[in-house]
Symmetry: C2
């Protein structure tokens, strides 16, 4: 029989490992939403999840990576895969879902806090890239690639640049706060991207 020290709830009356992890992530997400990233501490998460700090450090290497996982647990379900069968429809739906998730929400505050922290926490920057950016971009890429397959936009379109032209302005406004990013902004951005990407069809290749 394998080692059951961590996994057998009957043995010591302790919750099983998966439940501990769930409790930690829930406490972390609540704390992050309530206090923001700067006031987020492993001590407070341990207290709220009713676990010892070693239970947290066994699973996460820093407060940044714990906060990231707690954030993703709540954020990812808000951004489901989209397929409206048109590029305009897909881009509008994706960006509208993003606004609903982050505009004026604690989720948006957590997102901004994590991006800020990743600038000076190399572990978090790596985790941010592996667990969030890569996954999100993998999903967004499909919208552009399907538009190429449908011959809505030319085959030589720069998929990465088009993705950054969709989300870049939105993140830019979220981080700098110079203007709100609203439904009207979504329409304008999507209109320019789609018209601009299509117009290259006419250009000599």
């Amino acid at each position: 029989m394998p080692n059951t020290k961590e996994s057998d709830p009957a043995k010591k009356g302790r919750p099983r490992s998966a439940e501990v992890e769930k409790a930690i992530l829930k406490a972390a997400a609540t704390l992050l939403a309530e206090r923001g990233f700067k006031a987020f501490t492993i001590e407070e998460v341990a207290l709220r999840a009713k676990v010892g700090k070693p239970s947290i450090y066994r699973r996460w290497q820093s407060k940044g990576t714990l906060a990231l996982d707690a954030f993703l647990t709540q954020y990812v379900p808000l951004l489901p895969p989209i397929n409206t069968r048109s590029l305009t429809g897909d881009l509008q739906a994706a960006l509208t879902a993003w606004i609903q998730a982050v505009d004026g929400t604690t989720m948006g505050r957590s997102l901004v806090g994590l991006i800020a922290e990743a600038q000076s926490d190399p572990d978090l920057a790596i985790a941010w890239h592996e667990r969030f950016i890569s996954t999100a971009r993998g999903q967004h890429r499909l919208m552009i690639e399907r538009a190429i397959e449908r011959e809505e936009i030319p085959r030589d379109s720069d998929v990465d640049v088009l993705m950054d032209m969709l989300y870049g302005p939105a993140y830019h406004r979220l981080l700098n706060g110079h203007l709100p990013f609203n439904e009207r902004s979504v329409q304008e951005v999507v209109e320019v991207i789609v018209a601009g990407a299509k117009s290259r069809s006419a250009a000599p290749s």
Copy 2:
């Protein structure tokens, strides 16, 4: 005669106020470039500028606003006003100058550190907006407005959205580091913006 305690160099052999300010800004810029924002302290700036900490606190309310002014002193001269008499030319020149200023440079590291810090320092966020964002956008806006005057793009173009579509993708890559923002990215972004903005001419208004 007015109070000369601060301004008369002969009186106590102290440098005049403008020189003190210049020395502080220079020391701050050097420290910021060498160590990044996290390791930037008023103490160290005072030591390097050979002034007392009160001389700094009299002029700047926080390390964030001092770092911002030090940054702007060096950054702003790298981004001169541009006028090539074509929208494509203007946008390419502006974004290329931005890349040269920040890509892999200490200036770029300072820029990223300031944006990150502004997320949790309200004084810096206000100063960032008043002394940087407003000024920069005022300058960038001219490029789009001149294109409207030349009738290159329609009169009802959303100037703010077009500016964010130019700089948003660049800042997005700088902050998330998922891909480099290079000469090729500049060309792609500008091509989509200009073609997209122009194509709205054909649309019913």
